[in-house]
Amino acid sequence: MRVDDDIWAVRYDREASRYHQALERHRAGLVKTLDFTLSPLFLGQLKNLHQVALVSFKAETVAGLEVDGYNFADVVGRARACAEARFVDGAREAVVVEGGGAWQWEEEFQLLRDEIWSIIVQLRRDEAKKVVDAIEVRDKQSNK
């Protein structure tokens, strides 16, 4: 009777899969359309998060550098961590389907990190120039 059971199981699966395949096909088309509808919102949200993270990084860095006795590495590192955390939290929250091909935010995150790094390089250059100028001014004052 094991053979009969297998035969009936195969027949049952085949008869049921006929309807199941139609439903799955219908749902797959609907899911595709829904993703097509919602993915612009997701991409726009990522872009806005990118901009907001950059703006917040810049603002926090500038605010930290205006405080007397600041540590450049601490200020920049803290601002960078906050900006990246904000972006990651927002991006993870905006993902509709985990692991979906249309809901990837890692590439945008890498772009954000590259831009933040370029800003950090620029800030470091400005900071080095500022330190050199301060040393030169101090030297001039000491020479006088």
Binding site: D13, L30, T37, V97
Partner: protein, 253 residues
């Protein structure tokens, strides 16, 4: 040493023994043959009832049959010769046609002719079938496979969808009671679901308005809090409405 007389006696007794054994074997063979013939006669179908069109004497045997048909002159084929032993015709000059027929297979007529035998066969068949079914049922009970075991994973998903459908229906009823709007027809919802235009899967007007508003906000550069939760809710509701409409249309058919 044995005497010649005793040797002759033993030979004679041996001859008698062989003869008796041969007779017994012959008798057994005859009995078996008789039983076989009886069995064949039992299995041989009964002759078909005479057709109403023409009187017919139907002889059935294991070999070819000889059918003597009495025909009227206007229907005679003239292929036979007058028979001395045939019954006199009722109309016109009788013509006898001798045809050879094979024994006919058991048909509905023969089944109708001998109901006790057919009833016996049917009863034996049913008894055999019932015993087979009972044995199969017992074996199936031993190796029972739940009928829904194959679709268990699909049924879980369908149950989740049905639960979402119920929640969505309750929410829709509450929303419609507040707004005083009519319910969306199932066919219309299916037609919208079949179209590929984006945004038409969100049935509720409030959702479409919210979608347009969110799109404008995103395009303006604003970060919307809890946007993922809202989009997930929209997506699940749209999928549930699609499944609900599909089920409704299928039930209405």
């Amino acid at each position: 040493m044995e005497s010649p007389a005793s040797r002759t006696l033993s030979t004679w007794l041996l001859h008698i023994l062989f003869a008796s054994v041969a007779m017994v074997l012959r008798t057994l063979i005859d009995i078996v043959a008789f039983l076989f013939v009886l069995l064949l006669k039992f299995i041989t179908p009964a002759p078909v009832a005479a057709r109403a069109a023409a009187p017919m004497h139907h002889v059935t045997s294991l070999e070819l049959n000889i059918v003597i048909t009495l025909q009227t002159p206007q229907h005679s084929t003239g292929s036979g010769s007058p028979s001395t032993g045939s019954t006199p015709a009722r109309v016109g000059t009788p013509t006898v046609t001798a045809t050879l027929r094979y024994p006919e297979s058991p048909t509905r007529h023969s089944a109708e002719e001998q109901p006790p035998r057919m009833l016996g066969r049917i009863r034996s068949f049913l008894a055999t079938n019932a015993s087979t079914r009972a044995r199969r049922r017992d074996e199936l009970a031993v190796h029972a496979t739940p009928p829904l075991a194959v679709l268990e994973r699909h049924i879980v998903a369908v149950r989740e969808d049905i639960a979402r459908i119920e929640d969505m229906e309750e929410a829709r009823e509450m929303g419609l009671e507040g707004a005083g709007e009519e319910a969306v027809a199932d066919e219309g919802a299916v037609a919208r679901a079949d179209t590929d235009e984006p945004g038409h899967h969100l049935d509720l007007p409030t959702q479409q308005e919210l979608l347009a508003q969110f799109r404008r906000s995103v395009e303006a550069g604003a970060v919307i809090e809890e946007l993922g939760e809202v989009m997930r809710t929209w997506r699940s509701q749209a999928l549930c409405s699609c499944l609900c409409c599909t089920l409704c249309v299928r039930e209405s058919r």
